[in-house]
């Protein structure tokens, strides 16, 4: 991704220049990250409707979960902090 897109995502991903399919993916990633218990079957169906197959949905879920793991390790152990 170029820097402009990264900054747009950081500022407000809902207005970032991404495709409708990417928007569905990002909505899911944000929801999973905030509170995975809020994710429901309709979210998975939404990903399918956007064009992701179940392998893709699994990959999105695992990458998002992996980065959540890394974020917590990094924050808790001071990686990148003082």
């Amino acid at each position: 991704m170029d820097k402009t897109l990264v900054e747009a995502l950081e500022k407000d991903y809902t207005t970032a220049p991404i495709t409708p399919q990417e928007r569905v993916m990002v909505d899911y990633v944000v929801k999973l990250t905030k509170d995975a218990t809020k994710v429901w079957k309709n979210d998975i169906e939404g990903l399918r409707a956007a064009g992701f197959d179940d392998r893709g949905i699994l990959q999105i879920t695992l990458i998002a979960s992996w980065f959540n793991y890394i974020n917590r390790v990094a924050d808790a152990l001071g990686v990148g902090r003082e």
Binding site: M1, K3, V6, E7, L9, E10, Y13, I18, E22, M25, V26, V29, V30, T33, K34, F52, D53, R55, G56, Q59, I60, L62, I63, A64, W66, F67, N68, Y69, I70, N71, R72, V73, A74, D75, L77, G78, V79, G80, R81, E82
Partner: protein, 135 residues
């Protein structure tokens, strides 16, 4: 922890690649709390084992997980003296966990899977933004 001056309270964000011994991984440096905006910091708050001091078990764990990284992630950027990255380094006291954690990442970046690198990066960015994380 030090906080940004009030004039800079808005999140200050920098995107960069976090180097690994033989891989470059897209990470975001979201500088939430440090006054050293944009500075690259590599220290952790627990003891870590530098690559130069790694025993055979740790070396094999690091070499093993590296083997999972796709070629497009293979250009090192700013490698440190030991050749290891801080996030990998944070796992060095438990080599088995290091191996499985970073092998998983490498497997998930495989070009044989449905998502593109742009999508990988988008996911990583949004997780870190949502978590207000330094990574």
């Amino acid at each position: 922890m030090r906080f940004l001056p009030s004039a800079d309270k808005a999140w200050v964000v920098q995107t960069y690649y976090l180097e690994m011994p033989d891989a470059v991984v897209f990470f975001r440096n979201r500088n939430c709390e440090s006054a050293e905006v944009g500075a690259k910091k590599t220290m952790t708050w627990i003891r870590t084992v530098p690559l130069t001091e790694a025993d055979e078990k740790l070396r094999k764990a690091i070499e093993g997980e590296q083997s999972f990284y796709p070629k497009e992630y293979a250009t090192p950027v700013h490698p440190d003296a030991s050749g290891a990255s801080s996030i990998v380094g944070s796992h060095t006291l438990i080599p088995e966990a290091l191996y499985h954690a970073f092998s998983t990442f490498g497997a998930l970046m495989s070009p044989d899977l449905p998502l593109s690198r742009r999508q990988h990066e988008m996911i990583a960015t949004m997780v870190s933004v949502t978590n207000r994380c330094v990574y």
